[in-house]
Chain length 224, copies 2
């Protein structure tokens, strides 16, 4: 949290961008928890996340930021989702048992740490600027890091007994939230999903749930 | 966790590499918790993390992996540290209050998500291979991502009232673990620390603690 002099809002405000997959994660969690919120959009390609207005909310200039009903500002999508899970316990996004929690967190972090940050817009922009990477080189870079991790993720989900209808058991968790946002993002860079039938099966299952559908990039007010 | 047919060990086994900062994080947490463990080294520059033996422990081929006394394999440094904190509560590495927990996790994730994955050895290797980046270009890339996040981290730590002797209050937390491992790593790429006096102050404080010292890269059996 970050302290703020602005009074606590009547409803939470999500500062985000429709296409950002970290924003998508938080939208899914809010929808699963049944939390209504105000939607504030910042257009990343226009650099609105670097505006003075947004930097006052989030010194990193990265989306999303959640202003909660306590008036505090919460940043970093995984930290926000764990906060929501700790303050609104049902439906739970993590199992109760520490070993199972570690499994869910490790699956989530394979995506949230080992794929997404390397393929974020700001990194792809630096590849173009520093090394003259063109669209094809950028797309190949994106697919490389997805494939590196998805091969291991597919293996784990296929062989570990914890996997059920979702990444862990038969209810959506933090891991499914990260998985769904990543798979949705992959389509823009032509990632071939055929080698990942278990990931695809779980993604398809997620996309039958109203929370995942309503939170999807295409269903946001700023969608293009 | 990942299931395994190998019997539960009498003591935990940490599969890791002295210079890996994700390994360093887990070593600090184990030391703070007072856990004795066996040390198994994998030389990343020799590709030992890609050996059949290691891939059987960790399908991603990334260090660290912790085989716990329950026989399970735990991966992803942040998930491992939260597991340790949930199973060995004292000393706690996260506050009790959800808003404070969110603050500590968000500070940790600024480093663990927005810096480290982009500057990991495997990414730097791809910059060389794909774009012909030389030592100077690689070092400049490394410093760029540290500076992007450290500017915001310094601001948060300097202005937010939660900061104390450490990132949050007067005891080391998950955030300090990530901070210390990152600052230690920065030295190899010539990151200038003068703009970050609060980060430097907290790092210096961490390095007065035996747990941080004993876990440091230079004090491991495979140190070069």
């Amino acid at each position: 949290m970050t302290d703020s002099i602005i009074p606590a809002p009547a409803e939470p405000v999500l500062h985000n961008y429709f296409r950002s997959s970290t924003s998508y994660r938080v939208r899914i969690a809010l929808a699963l928890k049944g939390v209504a919120y105000a939607y504030e959009a910042y257009h990343l390609r226009k650099g609105e996340q670097r505006s003075e207005r947004y930097l006052a909310l989030n010194a990193q200039g990265l989306v999303p930021t959640l202003r909660w009903t306590d008036g505090h500002l919460y940043t970093q999508s995984l930290a926000i989702i764990e906060f929501l899970d700790e303050t609104i316990p049902n439906p739970s996004l993590l199992p109760k048992d520490p070993a199972e929690r570690a499994r869910v967190r490790s699956l989530a972090q394979m995506i949230a740490i080992d794929i997404h940050p390397i393929n974020n817009l700001r990194v792809l922009t630096e590849l173009r600027r520093r090394f003259g990477a063109d669209d094809a080189a950028v797309a190949d870079w994106f697919r490389h890091w997805v494939d590196e991790t998805f091969a291991a993720l597919e293996h784990r989900l296929a062989v570990e007994p914890g996997t059920g209808l979702f990444c862990h058991g038969d209810h959506p968790s933090l891991a499914d939230i990260c998985l769904a946002a990543q798979v949705a993002n992959n389509g823009r860079f032509g990632v071939e999903m055929a080698p990942y039938p278990t990931i695809q099966r779980i993604y398809d299952r997620c996309m039958t749930l109203p929370a995942f559908i309503s939170a999807a990039p295409g269903n946001q007010p700023d969608a293009e």
